[in-house]
């Protein structure tokens, strides 16, 4: 018995992670629809006291695009732009089982700005076998066109609430359930997209895209993680989504990881499948009586019927203590993303390659 307790404490201390950490990360996305996005991120989390941490991060999306959407819209030459995002937050643990985390997230680009606030609460009970969380977030966004004065931009607001529960099923298995309700109000179309309308007189006209101003979203996700052996780990998940635009989707994912002794190295593979139906007002081609326009009209392929597969390979290595740090870990990931559109005339599908590289120092 004493040997078991000693062994457990030893294992836990080996896996105990410092609360202070610094992360540098970059992700690169490139697809055959001529879109490239490079996204660097720097994040810092600093322990101020045993009960309080602060965190901050900066991230960016550096975008270069000449996709079919862009070439058929208002800027046929393509575009380049950069989006910046910051976050600043505080994490407070008044008791070991209780967590409060508050974060402010502003983002901006030349045609969009956002101010977001998120609050997460967590409580572990039943001898820390059950953890329940509640995520609350709200954001106020402004949507415009590049070169347009910000006073002419339009508003978009969002509120979301997301309870989740994870629990220890047995000493090898953790399961989770998460639900999220989102409500969005405001301008939700693209100011750059125009929709072709076929009049019965034989004329085709172009009208600005128009989406409903309200959207209520529901998402329910189930997940399980299971240690097959001391070194092999499997995970699986499923998410169902439905919203007030009558768009439904199904997402399934599975993963397998192998960790070497003391987790000096971890390798893994994962696979994700996705299918969605189209929004109720989405049509591949709109028809109307001469001189009239459909109330709602969209040229957004994200609202069309589509399916996709995402497959990834990941590797991570722990370098151990370096200089003043307790541990430095470097991870790399490569993914292939194949998406197929079943009701989007300009583009039948696209294939993307994604590469990620990151390093985290714990101290």
């Amino acid at each position: 018995m004493r040997l078991q307790v000693a062994l457990a404490f030893t294992l836990l201390s080996l896996h105990a992670r410092a609360d202070s950490r610094a992360t540098a990360f970059v992700s690169a996305y490139s697809d055959d629809d001529n879109l490239t996005v490079v996204s660097p991120e720097v994040a810092l989390r600093q322990e101020l006291s045993p009960a309080v941490d602060v965190e901050a991060s900066w991230e960016a999306d550096i975008i270069s695009a000449a996709s079919v959407d862009v070439m058929t819209a208002a800027s046929p030459r393509g575009y380049e732009e950069t989006r910046h995002g910051l976050s600043a937050g505080v994490i407070w643990k008044p008791e070991p089982e209780i967590t409060f985390a508050l974060k402010y997230l502003p983002t901006w680009e030349n045609d969009y700005s956002s101010h977001g606030l998120s609050l997460r609460t967590g409580y572990e009970w039943l001898e820390r076998r059950l953890e329940q969380r509640l995520d609350l977030r709200a954001s106020f966004d402004r949507v415009g066109r590049a070169g347009e004065p910000e006073s002419e931009w339009r508003d978009l607001g969002l509120v979301a609430v997301g309870p989740s529960v994870s629990y220890v099923v047995d000493r090898w298995t953790v399961a989770s359930v998460a639900y999220e309700l989102q409500a969005q109000s405001g301008f939700q179309a693209s100011p750059y997209r125009f929709v072709p309308i076929d009049w019965s007189s034989g004329t085709t006209v172009s009208a600005p895209e128009r989406h409903p101003e309200w959207r209520v979203r529901h998402a329910l996700a189930l997940g399980v993680r299971h240690a097959l052996t001391r070194r092999w780990f499997a995970s699986a998940g499923y998410r169902f989504y439905r919203d007030s635009w009558k768009l439904s989707s199904h997402t399934a994912d599975a993963g397998l990881q192998y960790a070497t002794r003391q987790e000096r190295a971890i390798v893994g593979v994962d696979l994700r499948g996705y299918y969605q139906g189209e929004a109720s007002f989405y049509q591949e081609r709109y028809a109307a009586a001469p001189g009239t326009l459909p109330s709602y009209r969209s040229r957004d392929k994200m609202l069309s019927e589509n399916w996709s597969v995402l497959a990834g390979l990941r590797g991570e290595i722990g370098l151990g203590p370096v200089a003043f740090t307790d541990d430095v870990r470097v991870a790399a990931r490569t993914e292939i993303y194949d998406q197929h559109f079943l009701s989007f005339e300009p583009l039948g599908g696209r294939r993307a390659f994604i590469f990620q590289l990151g390093a985290t120092a714990e101290y």
């Binding site: 457990a8 836990l12 992700s27 994040a43 977001g116 997301g162 000493r171 989770s176 998402a219 329910l220």
Partner: protein
Amino acid sequence: MAKACVVVVLALVAGCAPVHSWQRGTLASRCMSPDARPSETRARAHMLGAREGSTGASGEVGGGCGCK
């Protein structure tokens, strides 16, 4: 949807077996934690959110985006 969540949680909690503290070594592994790689999780959710019509219940919070 909310009633379905409650039923699922109660059914799963009812199946929990006691796990003592000295039996939790495997559960402490990085491979068992969904929060172990926040940057990767956030980047993936951001990429998929800009390419698919559905979002939510991913556990990650990110800033607003005019991603087209």
